[in-house]
Amino acid sequence: MYKSFRAALSKELEKCAKLYPDLVVLNADCARALQLSNFTKRFPDRMICVGISEADMLTTAAGLSAAGMLPVVVGFSMFTTAKPFEQIRQAIAYPNLNVKIIATHAGLCVGKDGATHQILEDIAIMRTLPNFKIFVAADVSETSSAISAMLLHDGPAYLRLGRDMAQDIFEEGKDVKVGGSDVLRQGKDVAIVACGLMVEQSLKAAEILKADGIDATVINAYSLKPLDSATIIQKAKENGAVITAEDHSIIGGLGGAVAELLASSYPVPMEFVGVKDLFGESGEQDELYRKYGLTAEDIAKAALRAMDRKDRSVQNV
């Protein structure tokens, strides 16, 4: 069943507002677009709209946190990470303030709004900030759990969500923890490390590979920072080839993070499924995924390429 990221966001924030009396939500004129009208109605004093001024919003959140509040900044990822990046660095990450950023509309999944709204760089830039924890949710259950986990954690955190709907992958109340991951499928030939909407595609890719007699491991790396290093290294050892899959640039995102990890611990042949140093464009999500190589078939092909190099490297030895 497909469910809406935004509906999950709204529901979870209303729940958390009751649990955390100091929680306030900040937005830059997108509360309605994020379907938070109900939150605004229920907690009018705890919904702060600064207008369309994201730099001001992120720094105001820092001030609220410095004065003992628990600010949660919501918005579209492009304008909530990249646009106010310097403010996030200076006023939140550096002083290690307890500010949460939850952003929807990340990746090509934005669709028809086109390249200006399809951020493919947010994981790459946010990952460079010390103190920040980063989560990417694959479905609505994981969205709710990730919000709970990031509020429990004392320090800055970023949650990346898609624009619209996600196929259910997890039961309600799935486990999310800082530095965690899920091994969704245990194989022996190739490990697919995925996040967000590409987890669904990776599970489909594993089925395609199975038809060819290839047994793939699928890991949901929902904690981008810190990565679940132990699990990823373990699966690299067991499978001997690793591919990553993300609705993000292949530069600096999940692929970059896994490559950095394995290069310095257990190098194996790798392939990267993601947007290949390009900007997106307008179109339906599935059309864009096909054009830019983010489908289950693309993941399966990448798996074969990585496995091919694994076999050659074994022969060379």
Binding site: M57, T59, L64, A66, A67, A91
Partner: protein
């Protein structure tokens, strides 16, 4: 605490000497804009503001945010004089490795620093956040914010000005240290932002313009700002960059220059 002008002048004199000493000692730092705002800091920390240096995290304390973070030496010298940390730190721990007094204010390293700043344009937004927290939690306190006149080139200052006005943050009192010089040249040459008063007034702020080196005017303006309860308040401090050292006054090169030994001796003699 005290509106005895002689007492405040004595404090200001010592703070100016400390600013000179620490920048000369560190061979790095921003003299001109530190010296221009000393009277405002002295008025705030030795009379106006409610705080306890022994309990710097007290929840109902008044807050001061130095948006023009490069002039940290003036704030460090003031915080030391106010008892937040030992005065020795000024000479042993400014801009050096492992220091508690970073080149720009760091709220996690220095007692009494309310907000990490240094990148221009961000302080007023942070001050607004603190002021909003006071309203939401219903814990009354004031938030003071010092902005550079050159700094108002930054668009975020105007975003924050609109936010404070929209939320009627009457617990925000912002100052502009209008010393009329910025890094490269006169503010009017770099980007003409005149008139600050008209701009802030049109953004919905209560505005005043005073001599930023005159304690009676500073106290008068803050008292007046406190009476104005329906909006945030701006006080433009007409100041002299490099105030107190004749060859530094109104001289653009003293924005970030370190004095030679001879210049240091001359400046010290003038300030003493």
């Amino acid at each position: 605490m005290s509106r005895q002008i002689e007492f405040l002048q004595h404090k200001a004199k010592n703070i100016r000497l400390d600013i000179l000493e620490m920048i000369y000692n560190a061979k790095s730092g921003h003299l001109g804009g530190s010296l221009s705002m000393v009277e405002a800091l002295v008025a705030l920390y030795f009379d106006v503001m409610n705080y306890d240096p022994k309990n710097p995290e007290r929840i109902d304390r008044d807050r001061f945010v130095l948006s023009k973070g490069h002039t940290a030496p003036a704030l460090y010298a003031t915080l030391a004089a106010a008892g937040f940390f030992p005065r020795e730190w000024l000479m042993t721990s400014f801009r050096g490795i492992n220091s508690k007094l970073q080149g720009h204010p760091d709220m996690k390293k220095t007692p009494g620093i309310e907000m990490t700043t240094g990148s221009l344009g961000i302080g007023l937004s942070a001050a607004n956040g603190m002021a909003l927290a006071s309203k939401i939690k219903n814990i009354p306190y004031k938030v003071y914010c010092m902005i550079g006149d050159g700094e108002t080139n930054e668009g975020q200052i105007w975003e924050a000005a609109a936010t404070a006005s929209h939320y009627k943050l009457n617990n925000v009192i912002a100052f502009i240290d209008e010393n009329r010089l910025q890094n490269d040249a006169q503010t009017l040459e770099v980007k003409d932002m005149d008139s600050q008063i008209n701009k802030w007034e049109s953004f919905g702020w209560h505005t005043q313009q005073i001599d930023g080196h005159d304690y009676l005017q500073i106290f008068g303006a803050i008292d007046y700002a406190n009476i104005c309860t329906d909006r945030p308040s701006l006080i433009v401090l007409r100041t002299i960059k490099g105030k107190g050292v004749t060859f530094m006054e109104n001289a653009v090169e003293w924005h970030g220059k370190t004095p030679s030994k001879e210049e240091y001796e001359r400046a010290k003699a003038e300030l003493s």
